[in-house]
């Protein structure tokens, strides 16, 4: 992620994973596309929460530095494990304003691996601390 692409809705936290105590969810595929040495925080509006196998996806609309809305694809765990942990298809309702922390894609594409989220009312999901 190039810093020049960041807007007020996106801020990059360069942190070591060990310091965060964060471990990525298991995937059926390699996670080599994600930069897990960095945490990107995105503020935007939920477009869709795909509660599907083999992974869930949070589609988040985020304004870039020019004000244009960009759709981000944020990958999370399987609906099965998340469901056992209390996550539901309704956890991310369309239209909700939220800030999401993610391990961004290495090439700067609008995608990432979900870490945690905080809604405008302060409620958190996933690993937020």
């Amino acid at each position: 992620m190039k810093s020049s692409r960041l807007s007020k809705n996106m801020f990059l936290l360069v942190l070591l994973m060990a310091n965060m105590g964060i471990s990525p969810a298991f995937s059926h595929h390699s996670n080599a596309m994600f930069n897990q040495d960095e945490v990107l925080a995105l503020s935007g509006t939920i477009k869709e929460f795909q509660f599907t196998n083999p992974h869930t996806w949070i589609q988040l609309m985020v304004k870039d530095e020019s004000g244009k809305e960009v759709e981000w694809s944020l990958e999370w765990g399987s609906p099965n494990n998340l469901g056992r942990q209390g996550v539901r298809p309704s956890t991310f309702p369309a239209g909700a304003d939220v800030t999401i922390k993610t391990y961004p894609m290495k090439d700067g594409s609008p995608g990432g691996l979900f870490i945690g989220a905080q809604f405008s009312d302060g409620k958190t999901v996933g690993r937020w601390e």
């Binding site: 083999p54 996806w57 290495k106 090439d107």
Partner: protein, 265 residues
Amino acid sequence: MQRAIIFLLFSHFAFIGSVNAQELPDWSGVWAMMGGTIFDQDTKIGDGGSTAVGVREHPPYNDAYEAKYLANLALRDAGVFPDPNSFCGIPTGFPRLMNLPDVYEFAVTPKQVWIITENGPNVMRIYTDGREHPAANDMWPTHTGDSVGYWEGDTLVFDTLSLHSSESGNTIIDRTGLVLSDAAHIVTRMHINDDGMMEAQMTINDAKALTAPWVVTKRYRKLEEGARVYDYACNENNRNPIDPNTGWTYTIGTDGKIIDINPGQ
């Protein structure tokens, strides 16, 4: 009178049935593997999971298989190690089947034990009805091989062979790149230990790959009563296709187009 005789006969057989059922341990419930998907935690070095650079295990490989493992580790480090599970649809196979995320069920029946994994899903059948392995000519490599076993008290002991070779591309053991040959022969002992965890100790012999028996123990904790198991459908909404030429894992958007502009850069 006739009804009384029928009742007594029914009660007698029901009693015999319940005695037989009580001889088998109660492995009901939903179980989850402990400790992550590094297959052999005891010989692991490095920090992180199976995809972390620098992490490896130390099976008693001979030189040829150590070289294969090192080559796989290099691919892993580059993020392009080919995992059959990533392609969606290829069964996991044994022994990796004992090394999966998500949850397990262990179904004990009088003549078979079924190990059912949510991830996949996969079913491994272990015959405990006294049969032996088929003759060599009557077996061919499969993902879970052929397993026959017996009970030693509350411990299930089973013997597995006729497995796919990892070299065939059909199976691996974990994402560090652990592999076995088609000579793999595995004896597994499963029981619930004193801590209430399911414990599976696998003793792996492989004349083509190993210089000594390789003993690996996996443990599983029982989830809370009432936990459910769900469908797993890898192709339902798989947005991570693998490039068959480079092994790179792409990400596709909701419009079906690849969103990686410069993959991995």
